[in-house]
Amino acid sequence: MRIALFITCFNDTMFPDTGRAVTRLLERLGHTVEFPQGQTCCGQMHFNTGYRPETLPMVRRFAEVFAGYDAVVAPSGSCAGMVRDHHRVVAAQYGDNALTEAVEEVAPTVYELSELLVDVLGVTDVGACFPHRVTYHPTCHSLRMLRVGDRPLRLLRAVKGIDLVELPAADTCCGFGGTFALKNHEVSNAMLADKMRHVQSTGAEFLCAGDNSCLTHIGGGLSRLRTGIGTRHLAEILAATEGDTR
């Protein structure tokens, strides 16, 4: 299958390891991964903060760059959600019919990583090995916009050596919310504090999620408190094999 990797601007800049993990994983499963160099950003931050005119060129670029692939994979629930649910809203707002058509073509080919693996590629055991205690936080957009359900957990449960522990109040938002963490930073901090308390209560070594933005928020708090709990993107755990020495 010819799969394009949409790395998302945030992962591209801050977490290239996640992109490398997705690539390694998919190639291990026998697929070809391509990286369209013209890609940039899904426009989520601008869209969610109310800057619609600024979002338009990003929507346009996305539809152009990712046209014609069998599937596009994004290691981010919120960016996949943005493309699937909101690009058409932007196109419609500017009355751009050609763009709307292009968006309608591309949007259904875009998958969050766990969706691609389970629904499109039909695997839950990806042959990974990660002998650590891990707890999983389902990010809001994966949970409620994409409805990925238990797909990530099914993938994680199949990982060799993993000790997967349940996170209390897992489906409560961590308080990141993009620019919310800046605009309402005090409320955000209060939500973060509760999330961290729950993560710490599991005794996990690693917190796993399918979105590096939420992980940066929670992990940043855990790091500041010197809890010693690390964060791992779902892709990185699924890409890890027995040969790895982590």
């Binding site: 800057y51 600024e54 152009e64 005090e186």
Partner: protein, 502 residues
């Protein structure tokens, strides 16, 4: 009267500042967490009991959508039916209008006191204050509303207005204030909930027997029969609806339903969504006036107050489908931390964040659409399927546009969004920015992490470490390692060139 005057009490600071006090109040946060947590679990259980819950939601949403599309038509039908049944219908364009009408109606009876059934609409327009200005005393009879009124307070929740109060606080309020308003609290009053409820009952009974005029809201009104419905759990509402001679109902125009039969689905959804009960203990229905039974004079005040303007917005209008069940408040992680007062309106929580800005004009409540992480829990909980996150981002765009129009100089945020927008719409500019960020980070990072920073970034870095951007972005890595090996032959020149097209 327009804009922020449409609802009382928007004079509060913007949401982030208003939330600060609540966040610091540990007792408040504990009260909120306990209360919302309990109702949340009860609601889930009550909803799970019905096998056709999702279907019911779909039906309710469809009825509301359909009704809102032809609202004028159904309101005229309602007026006709109410009039035919012996009631009188009044149309109020805004809060001042409605207050004037009600004040006039009360004065015409010669009375100086009214008992009230809990009503969001009358709070929205500040009716009690308007009546007080005209020398008329309004007594709240809902237990929680009574606590709020006696405490000189504002409601903090749609359904449980005194959710922010603990029982010892309530006891203090009763002891201090009840005497001022009527029968005093019994001596030696304890803080046992039953004792408190009994004190309220005694205090209220005297008023029910004395007052000749009642003011209520309405949960629903059926256009075909002219029947108005109020649901409640204490029975105090029923006393107000049956004992007095004159009944004045103030109802938002969006509450109309096409037919009596439509009540079926809503009376199933509302109690389960709001209190997690299967049925409301009291459901009162009345149609005009009936000789020898209940009030002899019935007035229905139909309140617009920003609703037709809301109706004109095809994304935002779905907020008018709200049946005020408060399920969205109880699942909202932001509401759980801040309580209702931070929202500066009688409509707090997620629904307040989308309804209030529309009723008063988004420029008058511009911080409210941003008072959400867009986690979507509210949408999942809403029995009439209002897509609150969708309306939130829609209103954010309107708030930003209103700001662009209103200012000569763009805000810092607008400049930042413009700049990042330029970077993020071009791969070459993005690559350059990544290179710069990595360079900058190496100057401030320690052990690969960035600690507290000064300036605007302090809001983020005050409580969290940030990983330093790595030297090589994924796109750079890909170009170096993959493209050279030929697996990505076409990922270069022409795409790069295409990359800079705006």
């Amino acid at each position: 009267m327009s804009g922020a005057d449409n609802v009382v009490w928007l004079g509060t600071p913007a949401f982030p500042e208003a939330a600060r006090g609540a966040l610091a109040d540990t007792r408040l946060r504990a009260n909120l967490r306990r209360a919302t947590g309990t109702i949340r679990d009860k609601r889930l259980k009550a909803a799970a009991e019905l096998h056709d819950w999702e279907e019911l939601r779909e039906r309710a949403a469809a009825v509301k959508r359909r009704t809102l599309r032809h609202l004028d038509h159904h309101l005229l039908r309602l007026e006709k039916a109410v009039t035919a049944a012996g009631g009188t219908v009044h149309w109020a364009a805004d809060a001042a209008d409605a207050n004037r009408i009600v004040t006039y109606l009360v004065k015409a009876t010669g009375e100086r006191e009214v008992v009230k059934v809990k009503s969001m609409a009358t709070q929205e327009i500040g009716l009690n204050e308007a009546l007080a200005d005209a020398g008329i005393r309004a007594y709240e009879t809902d237990l929680a509303e009574l606590i709020v009124q006696l405490g000189g307070d504002r409601p903090s929740h749609i359904l449980v207005p005194a959710i922010h109060r603990g029982r010892s606080e309530i006891r203090e309020i009763f002891l201090r204030e009840m005497g001022e308003w009527g029968s005093p609290a019994p001596e030696g009053l304890g803080d046992d909930p039953r004792e408190l409820a009994e004190a309220a009952r005694l205090h209220l009974r005297e008023k029910f027997l004395r007052c000749k005029v009642a003011v209520s809201g309405a949960n629903f009104a059926a256009a075909d029969t002219g029947t108005v419905a109020v649901v409640e759990s204490e029975g105090n509402g029923r006393m107000c609806l049956t004992l007095p001679d004159t009944l004045i109902t103030v109802m938002g125009i969006e509450k109309v339903l096409p037919s009596f039969a439509d009540l079926d689905v809503f009376l199933q959804l509302l109690p389960r969504s709001s209190t997690g009960e299967r049925m409301n203990p009291y459901t009162s229905l009345w149609t005009g006036v009936t000789e020898g039974d209940g009030p002899t004079d019935f007035h229905l005040v139909l309140l617009d107050n920003g609703r037709t303007a809301t109706l004109a917005d095809d994304v935002g209008r779905q907020a008018l489908a709200c049946i005020r069940c408060s399920a969205c408040l109880n699942v909202c992680p932001v509401y759980e931390r801040t309580g209702g007062h931070a929202y500066g309106s009688v409509y707090p929580g997620p629904i307040g964040a989308v309804l209030t800005p529309q009723l008063v004009g988004v420029e008058n409540a511009a911080s409210l659409p941003f008072a959400s992480t867009l986690c979507g829990a509210c949408y999942d909980a809403c029995p009439v399927k209002i897509n609150i996150p969708e309306v939130l981002v829609h209103l954010r765009a309107e708030a930003v546009e209103a700001q662009r129009r209103g200012r000569f100089l763009p805000t810092v945020e607008a400049l930042a969004m413009k700049a990042t927008g330029l970077v993020l719409s071009s791969p070459t500019r993005l690559a350059a920015a990544q290179w710069l960020a990595a360079l900058g980070a190496r100057l401030v990072a320690r052990d690969g992490r960035i600690g507290a920073l000064p300036g605007p970034l302090a809001r983020w870095t005050g409580t969290r470490d940030t990983p330093a951007p790595p030297r090589e972005s994924l796109r750079a890595w890909w170009r170096r390692s993959k493209a050279v090996k030929g697996t990505q032959g076409h990922a270069s020149a022409e795409e790069e060139a295409a990359g800079d097209r705006p």
